[in-house]
Each structure stands twice: as structure tokens, then as C-alpha cells.
Amino acid sequence: MRNFYYAPLVRWERVEEIIMLVPEDEREEAERLVISSIDHVVIETVLIHLDKQHHKEFMQKIHDAYHDPSVLDWLKDKISDVEEKLKNAISQTKTSIIQLLS
């Protein structure tokens, strides 16, 4: 489930911590919501920094191979410090969720 193209940039133990904040019988949905929120934030961050001429190519790439780490390699060629930018965005998202649930 977690072999997304951006998976190496996520500290998954932090995601687990967030999921543990909700009651046990709701954790399956909570996991889906947290990961889907991160999915949106990652795409947003990429689109903000990626040259517009590559937007469609990016969408096609994640459509064809959302689980393929080569998408991240492709992004590294197109956006400077993309890993740092995505890590920050993901980390901020997790922090916001933790604050919301605490």
C-alpha cells in the first residue's frame, strides 16, 4: 500500500503515530484519509514548482505508475531540491494533522 513514488520521503512512523490517535475501529479509514491528504499535498507541491510545460507529463506519469520510484527520479531532473520541498510539505501536513487531533 505504501510503495508510492514519494514513499521514501515520508517518515511513516509519524503517520502511524497519527493513526494511533483515533479509536482502533476507525484506524483503517484514518489511514486512508491521512495518506490521501498527503497525496494531494505532494501533487500540489510538485505542480507549484514544476514548469507548466511538464504538468501533463507529470500527471500522465503518476497515472501510469503511481507506485514507481522512477517518477521521483524524473522529478529530481525537473525541480531543484524536489526531495527537500516534498519532505517539508509532507512534514507540515503531518504536523497540522497532529495539532488538529491533539
Binding site: 497525496d39 503511481y66 488538529l100
Partner: protein, 311 residues
Amino acid sequence: MSKFKKTSPKLNKLRLFYADAKNRFHKTHLNASQWLGDRGLDVESLKMAGKSAITATTLAGAVLTSQPVDARMAEKILGLNNKEEHLVAEVTLEEHEEIMNKMAQMVKMPPGHLNREDELYLEQQISDMVGFEVTAELDGHRLNHSIGIMGGEQHLKRFPTDSLAQHDEYQQAGIAPNRGAFGWFTENGELTQQAIQREKYYFAVQTLYLPEWNQNHDELKPWYKYRKMIAINPADGMAAVGVVGDAGPAQWAGKQFGGSPEIIKDAKIWSKEARGRVILFFVDDPEDKVPLGIVDLNQIKEQLAQAEAAS
């Protein structure tokens, strides 16, 4: 006490957070949102789109190592209206082989329809072979394709709280996040045997691209819902009888039909030889006598050979 469990405030907050993230994405990235919308996708289903491509490959690989499929369906179909006797009279072994060879060539043609003459020939020959009426056009309704590529679909939710774990086979195919285009499979809220069978053997067809769909949607949707069809994979001598259970695939996918995990694997739709190429016809079955499931056309061939040897 209510039988419905109250959602915790934390989960509700998470739901709102996710809804905000989703809305923000669609509002601030209109082109990407439009790109997804044009393909009938959102970010969640985008993830699954990639996964279903993997699934198709996985299933194709699995086909090569799978055990022979349950032959009971062929027996059931052969048994319809004492059809075994009829078969011997209508189709010889030589004719059977000739039809299979012709179909194997026909499915290699570009997606679409055969010319009417070939279509009539095929309708008659397949009907004689399987023992029930099949047709490219039924009650004046015709899909945009009767020959094309069938992609692998995921399981469909049969009722709102259905989960992958509750489907007994091919869980590696995953489950679609939303219900199928024709609604829940349950009948009056009950998961009947018929509902289970319909989800097991469902087809996705491109009703949304029918020229008359937008004008006659109210009439067409109930007609197509659970309409019985047969997919024939001539390369492997396999067929599947199923029902229309979903709409799709999207045009850009390069496929004309979709099949449930059971259909794709058990009818060997993505074997090395077939690679998704099928003939898809309606089954004319007003009395609902034809069972859903896999038809092993090779077994029919064997029975014809035995019958000829005995005569």
C-alpha cells in the same frame, strides 16, 4: 440504543482536513483537476489506475500457472434444454475448430464490429456452440464495439460497507473505492447469491460513449443494468458469461471493455496468447436460464470429439 456507531470527533476532524486538502487542490490546480476530470478520475482513483495496470499483469502471470478452471459451468450450459443432443446435430468437431480459428483471427481486427454478414455467421455459430442465443444487437441496442480489448477491473463494492476481505477470490485485484455505475449489487439490502454471482462475473462496458446515452439515459441505464453478456477468448478457447455491472473503461485507456477479476483470470483473458482480445456479445436470455460463470470451449470440443468417436 442506535445500531449505528457514532464517529469519533477525531475521525470527523480528519475527514474535514482531507476534504479541505482535496478542495484546495481542485481550486488551485484547475488544469490538473480538469485533466483528472476528463478521465473520470480523482487523486484516489489515480492511485488505483496505476495499481490496476499492475493487477492486469499479475493476473496475466497468474493465468499461466493457474489450475484448470471449474468445468461445471460448461456442463451446466451443455445441459441446457438437453443441448448435448442438439450440439451433435448442429456443430461438428471440424466446424467447431473452424469457428474457433475464425474467431481467433477476428479478434485481431481493430476494435469495432464485424461486417453484418460475418456477424450473423458468428452469432449463429456461437449460439450453436454454447447452446444459447448470443447476438451483437439485442432489442435494438448495440454497444460501440463487439470486438475489442478487455482490461482487468477491480472488485466492486456490493453494498456500502463491503470490503476486499469479504470477496473470496483474487483479492490481489483490489476493490474500487466507489460503487459501480449501476449501483449496489444487493437486492433490497440483502446480499443474495445472485448479487454475489453478478459481482463475480461482471463486465464494464462503455455505455457512457453510446451516441444516444445522453438523450435516452433514463431508458438505457435500466436496460443495460445487469444485462447478460458473453465474452469469448478464442485464443484460449475460453468464454465467460457475466452481467453489465459497471461503465467504462475511459476511451483514453485504449480498451473497450472491462472484466471482473474472476472473468479476467478464469477465462484467461490476459494470457500470453489472448492479451485481452475478446468478442463481447449479448446473451438473449429472457427467462434468465443461462448461468453466470466460465465456459470452457475446449471441453465442448472434447465432448464433440467423444460424440463423433462414439457414432
